[in-house]
């Protein structure tokens, strides 16, 4: 049964190599269908394997040592997969989204060769490896595999100009992050002589935080923050999302960014948590970054008219909210972040797939031009609106549950104002997406105003598919609908709170993790630094959730009808003057992005250096 772990990553790699080797055979329509089917089947099998693993690890982590080199006397000489429920669940989400994306692309690229499928499968393998591994250098290797596959997939339609800018900005910024990360690995290896996360954790915990540990921590975290699109490392995300093909965007927003945040949690709780101490400082530092990201992302999201970029900025905002849950350092916060990630991944994927359908049928992603034209896409409109409500954190959705737990944990630890920030961000993001739903699919109100710049950008996006069809193929709408409904289903599972929080407690117990990995010990009752908290739905949760949805609906309504309401006409589009200098930060030039990375890393390093010495 353990070998499932190895097969979960070997299978996509083998199939990708096989597909590439047999590339000349896959010309012709029927052969292409076979290829699609093979790829979808592989991804589905991986998802099933990971779901089985997730069930199996409910009562303890599974550790699998590659090549049979088990650790002796607490020293690891091989590479391991250390799998608990949280990381198996995240890998399973990745596989499910790959299945959905590949089903969507069944009719998608009519004239592409087999390389799309090979790249998607290596992308999947990279994500699975990243989630499951317990070795810091192995984490880096799978991060790079994810990265290289992602860069290639972003540039998949090189006949346009946007994909090149997006792919270049993406590649250069993430590579700089990866090399900073590698510098951190070199530092920590120099001190501990180990690459296994549990062994490093044990070795640094013995001596407390000194300069080397702090610097290594900051460098490793910077690389992961860049992938996780946290301000000021987030600029690449919008450029990459705006231009990648829709199925690829599904994966970027749904799970790739979240993997960066998972990496942060993993590195903190497996390696540095015990040794760094200073929980209050760590919480404050990361909360600042997280909340700044949430607000900046939400503001940019509301101002966008390019549908994919709008959704990309909403991902930035949500990345900030996930990091808030992690930064609280409590099990309930982490559990909230985990469920929020799952719900958001499914819903965001559904939204992107609907945008893909719009692009396929109507040939545009410009919200202003599309106003009212989506009326004939009735089912798509319904699914989009449902998913938009989920993004605004409406009650039965998993996003509502996750958000509620993060807010509850924050309030219990003396930060009730975080709820207010969450509500504001939900209102802005939900309002933006509901504005799109109302305007494009139902023709309500007036088309939003736009600058000529945005119009030019959005009209560059030509159709991704061969020719517009008269009806939406089932392979495009069914995955979107299924994902949106799954978002509700996960949120409605009865004991999800207790189960996920138990998994979070186990994830956060560093000594238990070290013992399990290095000595095979089975720890029945892990204890984290902070105690578990109640996970029921409280009145406060409902109030904030319904309040956010109501606020989002009102904001969407105002955004659509403001020109007809004399009161608001005078100054509704507020701050248009001061918003322009803020928007200039997103300049599209990679030199600027790398400058911000350096400044962000220096500030983060300086803060932690002064606080933890």
């Amino acid at each position: 049964m353990d070998h499932l772990l190895a097969l979960a990553i070997a299978a996509p790699l083998l199939v990708a190599a096989a597909i590439a080797a047999l590339n000349p055979l896959f010309r012709g329509e029927r052969r292409r269908r076979t290829l699609d089917a093979v790829a979808i089947l592989t991804a589905a099998v991986v998802a099933a394997m990971l779901a089985a693993i997730m069930v199996r690890t409910a009562h303890g982590d599974t550790v699998y040592w590659f090549a049979g080199f088990r650790p002796s006397h607490g020293i690891a000489i091989g590479i391991d997969f250390a799998v608990g429920q949280l990381n198996a669940g995240l890998a399973c989400l990745a596989a499910v989204l790959v299945v959905a994306a590949m089903v969507f692309s069944w009719r998608y690229f009519e004239q592409v060769g087999s390389y799309y499928h090979a790249l998607m499968l290596t992308f999947l393998a990279g994500m699975v490896g990243f989630c499951l591994t317990g070795d810091i250098f192995d984490l880096f290797v799978w991060f790079e595999l994810m990265g290289v596959s992602a860069y290639a997939l972003t540039a998949y339609r090189p006949e346009e100009r946007g994909p090149i800018q997006g792919a270049l900005n993406f590649a250069i910024t993430n590579s700089v992050g990866a090399y900073l990360w590698l510098s951190g690995i070199g530092l920590i290896y120099g001190r501990t002589g180990a690459l296994n996360m549990a062994q490093i954790g044990r070795a640094v915990a013995r001596h407390g935080p000194d300069r080397l540990v702090v610097v290594a921590f900051v460098l490793i975290i910077t690389g992961l923050l860049i992938k996780g699109a946290i301000v000021p490392f987030h600029f690449w995300l919008a450029d990459a999302h705006a231009v990648a093909p829709t199925p690829v965007c599904v994966l970027f927003s749904g799970v790739m960014v979240e993997l960066g945040l998972y990496g942060i949690a993993r590195v903190y709780w497996s390696m540095f948590g015990q040794s760094l101490g200073h929980q209050a400082t760590v919480t404050r530092t990361f909360l600042t970054l997280a909340l700044l990201t949430a607000v900046v992302g939400a503001l940019f999201c509301f101002r966008e008219r390019h549908l994919k970029r709008l959704l990309a900025f909403s991902t930035v905002s949500h990345a900030g909210l996930f990091l808030t849950g992690i930064a609280l350092l409590t099990p309930l916060g982490l559990a909230g972040a985990a469920v929020y990630v799952a719900g958001h991944g499914l819903i965001k994927a559904a939204l992107f797939l609907c945008v893909g359908i719009v692009l396929h049928r109507l040939g545009s992603v410009n919200e202003t031009w599309l106003h009212g034209r989506g009326r004939l896409l009735r089912v798509t409109g319904a699914v989009f609106t449902l998913a938009a409500l989920g993004l605004a954190d409406m009650p039965p959705f998993a996003t509502f549950r996750g958000k509620g737990w993060i807010e509850a944990s924050a309030a219990a630890h003396g930060m009730p104002w975080i709820t207010a920030v969450f509500v504001i961000c939900s209102v802005l993001v939900g309002g933006a997406v509901l504005r799109v739903a109302g305007g494009v699919f139902y023709g309500l109100g007036d088309p939003p105003s736009e600058e000529t710049q945005m119009a030019a950008e959005a009209s560059e996006e030509t159709g991704e598919t061969d020719h517009a069809r008269q009806r939406t193929p089932a392979t495009m709408i069914v995955p979107a609908a299924v994902l949106a409904v799954a978002g509700i289903a996960i949120g409605s599972l009865p004991h999800i709170g207790a189960a996920v929080q138990a998994a979070a407690v186990r994830f956060q117990d560093q000594p238990a993790y070290n013992a399990t990995v290095l000595s095979g010990a089975h720890v029945a009752h892990p204890t984290a630094l902070f105690a578990p908290e109640p996970t029921g739905i409280t009145a406060a949760d409902l109030a904030s959730g319904l309040g956010a949805v109501a606020g989002a609906l009102i904001l969407a309504f105002l955004a659509l009808y403001w020109r007809r309401l004399p009161l608001l006409r005078r100054g509704f589009e507020p701050g248009a003057g001061l918003e322009r200098p803020i928007r200039r930060f997103q300049s599209g030039v990679v030199n600027d992005y790398v400058t911000w990375i350096v400044i962000g890393a220096a500030c983060l390093g300086g803060t932690l250096a002064f606080a933890i010495r």
Binding site: L14, A17, G113, Y115, Y116, L119, E159, L187, R191, A609
Partner: protein, 253 residues
């Protein structure tokens, strides 16, 4: 940001980052005093456990073979990515590649370069083959050997023999070779699983004495597959990038 502002902002940030980094680096044990334990343990047990006297290769292909698998596939994905980006370019251009390449002024290759390159092709091939198959005994291995094998192909290009280049390295076959190399590595690991051992366990007989060419079990085999994959990947990448220049060379002869 305009470039001047950006430069000063960057310098300020970089000064801070460099100071921070250096501050951390001073916490390392001094240069030349590696404390272990990972490297020391491997040095002690590697020869006995794997019968390979090249310990770096033992680390790469046995102890940390899983990392190497990932890295193989990174190269595979990159070669595939290069093909996607540049072949698309070729397919949709209005003018065929030959016409466009006529506009470029490429100096003809000098005879000296052509002769030296042709002479070097043979030794390079032999050297590459030697490196790829001796991973377990000497500072060599699949990666180094593969790159040298790819260099042999590039020397053929340098010698100006584009037609020969195209005939002996048809892109379809090279793509297949690359995929076989990468897939072969993954498959070796799966064979171990089929025998009930953890993935990528060294299940082949280890040979009679350390350091023999046929020793060390799967290390030599994996190294061979890696050599094929790396050679193929680099030939694909270089030939895609050089396609236009190659065509113009052919026109001018």
């Amino acid at each position: 940001m305009n470039p001047a502002v950006r430069r000063w902002v960057f310098v300020a940030g970089a000064a801070g980052l460099a100071a921070f980094y250096l501050w951390g680096l001073t916490g390392l044990p001094g240069f030349g005093s590696y404390p272990g334990p990972y490297g020391d343990i491997i040095n002690r047990v590697a020869v006995a456990q794997t019968n390979a006297t090249g310990v770096v290769s033992a680390v790469n292909f046995a102890y940390r073979a899983f990392d190497t698998l990932g890295e193989e596939f990174i190269l595979f994905a990159a070669a595939v990515g290069v093909s996607v980006v540049l072949r698309h370019l070729r397919g949709e251009r209005q003018r065929p590649a030959r016409d466009e390449s006529m506009d470029r002024n490429v100096a003809p290759t000098s005879d000296a370069i052509r002769m030296v390159s042709l002479i070097l092709v043979g030794p390079t091939l032999v050297m590459g083959w030697y490196l790829a198959t001796h991973a377990q005994t000497s500072p060599s291995g699949g990666f180094q050997g593969g790159v040298m094998l790819a260099t042999a192909f590039i020397l053929i290009y340098l010698a100006g023999e584009f037609l020969v280049f195209e005939r002996i390295s048809p892109l379809a076959a090279i793509d297949a070779a690359e995929a076989v190399g990468a897939g072969g590595f993954a498959a070796i690991g799966v064979s171990a699983v089929a025998m009930g051992l953890p993935y990528l366990t060294n299940f082949l007989p280890l040979g009679s004495r350390p350091g023999a060419v046929s020793s060390s079990g799967t290390i030599a085999l994996i190294s061979f597959f890696v050599g094929i994959e790396v050679a193929a990947a680099f030939v694909v990448i270089v030939s895609e990038l050089l396609e236009q220049t190659l065509l113009s060379r052919q026109e001018s002869r």
